[in-house]
């Protein structure tokens, strides 16, 4: 049952948006899927092109073992069925950056079948999204249209690079869910090391399928927006398309099943190919390639070599360290951040460690645009700082000052030395605190009288005491002694 808050309001009632994503993730291999040419990004025109990639007559494709392994690895990471028998088909169409006249892909028998992953939404909610399939295919070359007025320039360096196309089930119901899914896929492939997840360089891009319907009715006609390469754009495409389609339907029109392009500058979509001209790909098994048979022992070896996956890590953080779903998901989203947290939390209060890592540290890193790997404070140092709070050597407030000193490298060394050197130790000696409080009470008879009628002004005394102690008085002791001396319960 769809939750009402996820429905979109139209002029004539509520609408439900239905989203499915086809994500292309480039396999992080050295060479191409069917040739030994380099798959590296950024070479000069046609430098990374073999006679196979250029589709010269008589050339035959030979598949890259590493690419097959990464597809299996990714499939396992998506909790998906691995098909021990799969095969390659030709997807036929004509375009200048596709010299073969067909793309080698997997149509009927993909290497990976159904799976499922969890995604996390704002507000600490987690839902499961189904994976339909993952298949291996070749990337096409690149056409550049702005180098000459009447001509296009074609570079085949990308031609034949291995892609994993990961197809979701149409189970997302909002722009937020679509972006969260895309983000989670990136986290998973990065954990697995099967794709670098670099959206700027096109290593990961999504075709976004959007349709709308009245709640509970049959699926509406969908549009497909091609090559969306950022989380923000995925959100924009879904929002824009849902709104556009609702407007068309409410005006009595109908949605054409069409392929669209997204214009990042205007935030709008426009038609790429009309339905009349829709491609008929005439798939058929590629006669150059035998069926791909996987040895089940090899698949098990790959399974055994998987790292702990983000969802598993998230659940373990919740159980082992008592973290909220939100905090656990934030930490698990990045392998290095998760490792940093665990080093801090080891043998300490997990919740406190998480608060310091996700709050203070991530906040400071984000502000300065520093990667976790370059953090000026090590996990060990942050752990020591937390120890000082825990054993009441310093208060939480002073700890933030020490943190800032360490972060800005104003003070080198471990936190205990800084506290010692700067005399920041917390005063827990009740005698010393009493002395300060006695002075305040003696010097401020008016406030003392006032606080008996208006207990709210109590905070003023706490503030004064902390100020006179240089922030070093133990707040709990201050509260207790003040209450006693002022006669307040």
């Amino acid at each position: 049952m769809i939750e009402p808050r996820k429905l979109l309001k139209g002029e004539t009632g509520d609408w439900e948006v239905v989203v499915g994503l086809e994500v292309h993730a480039q396999v992080s291999s050295k060479s191409k899927l069917f040739s030994g040419a380099s798959a590296e990004y950024g070479a000069g025109p046609n430098e990374h092109v073999s006679l196979v990639d250029a589709a010269m007559p008589g050339m035959l494709p030979v598949i890259n073992r590493y690419c097959v392994e990464q597809a299996v690895r990714t499939g396992l990471g998506l909790n998906a069925q691995i098909n021990l028998w799969s095969r390659f088909d030709r997807k036929n169409y004509f375009y200048p950056d596709l010299p073969q006249g067909y793309q080698i892909s997997q149509y009927k028998d993909p290497i990976v079948g159904e799976g499922a992953i969890e995604i996390e939404l704002d507000g600490g909610e987690s839902i499961t999204i189904g994976i339909e399939r993952l298949h291996l295919e070749q990337d096409a070359g690149k056409s550049i249209h702005d180098l000459a007025p009447k001509e296009s320039y074609v570079d085949l360096n990308r031609s034949g690079v291995a892609l994993m196309e990961i197809v979701s089930k149409p189970e997302m119901r909002s722009a937020e869910e679509g972006a969260a899914y895309f983000s989670k896929l990136r986290t998973i492939v990065r954990y697995l090391g099967t794709c670098d997840g670099n959206m700027d360089q096109g290593s990961m891009r999504a075709d976004v399928n959007v349709s709308v319907r009245r709640p509970g009715e049959e699926l509406g006609t969908r549009t497909e927006t091609k090559n969306v390469n950022s989380l923000r754009y995925v959100r924009q495409v879904i929002d824009y398309e849902a709104r556009r389609q609702i407007e068309v339907l409410e005006a009595g029109g109908k949605i054409d099943q069409e392929t669209l392009l997204f214009n990042a500058e205007t935030g709008e979509t426009r038609t790429m190919r009309s339905k009349e001209d829709a491609h008929d790909y005439r798939y058929f098994p590629d006669p150059d390639l035998l069926p791909l048979k996987l040895d089940p022992i090899w698949v098990e070896e790959i399974r055994a070599s998987l790292p702990e996956l983000p969802d598993a890590k998230k659940h373990r953080f919740m159980e082992e360290y008592g973290l909220s779903l939100y905090d656990a998901a934030v930490l698990a989203a990045d392998k290095r951040k998760a490792a940093f947290f665990e080093n801090v939390a080891k043998g300490r209060d997990g919740k406190l460690a998480s608060n310091w890592v996700t709050g203070e540290l991530f906040g400071a890193l984000n502000k300065e645009n520093i990667e976790i790997g370059d953090s000026p404070i090590s996990a060990n140092q942050l752990g020591q700082l937390i120890d000082l709070i825990k054993d009441q050597t310093i208060s939480g407030k002073i700890a933030k000052d020490v943190f800032a000193l360490m972060f800005n490298s104003e003070e080198a060394g471990n936190p205990a030395d800084i506290v010692e050197k700067r005399g920041l130790k917390q005063v827990t000696d009740t005698g010393a605190i009493e002395k300060i409080i006695d002075e305040i009470i003696a010097a401020n008879p008016k406030q003392v009288e006032q606080v008996r009628e208006k207990p709210k002004t109590f905070g003023w005394f706490v503030g004064q005491t902390m100020k006179l102690s240089g922030g070093k008085a133990n707040p709990q002791a201050v509260n207790e002694i003040l209450k006693k001396k002022l006669g307040i319960d």
Binding site: S38, E47, P96, K150, L290
Partner: protein, 99 residues
Amino acid sequence: MAINKDIVRKVAHLARIAEPEERLEPLAKELSGILGWIEQLNEVDVEGVEAMASTVDAALPLRDDEVVEGDTGGGKSDAIVANAPKTEDHFFVVPKVVE
């Protein structure tokens, strides 16, 4: 299966083969004949027999992930564009195609 003129026109277009209008009808007849002849295969009972993927009973050979030079590798941009009708700075140059 009977092939009509419209199907021939569509298939010719998808294959980028220019067929003049007056050739469509004769081609439809020819193709229908060929298909009808092949359809005789439908008479064979294949109940319970799995479709063949290949006539060779072998698995796909896998190669190692290595960057190589030569015909099956990169680094030969001169050779790659050598036969192209038009090139510029090792790009293939084609009539403008814009989606």
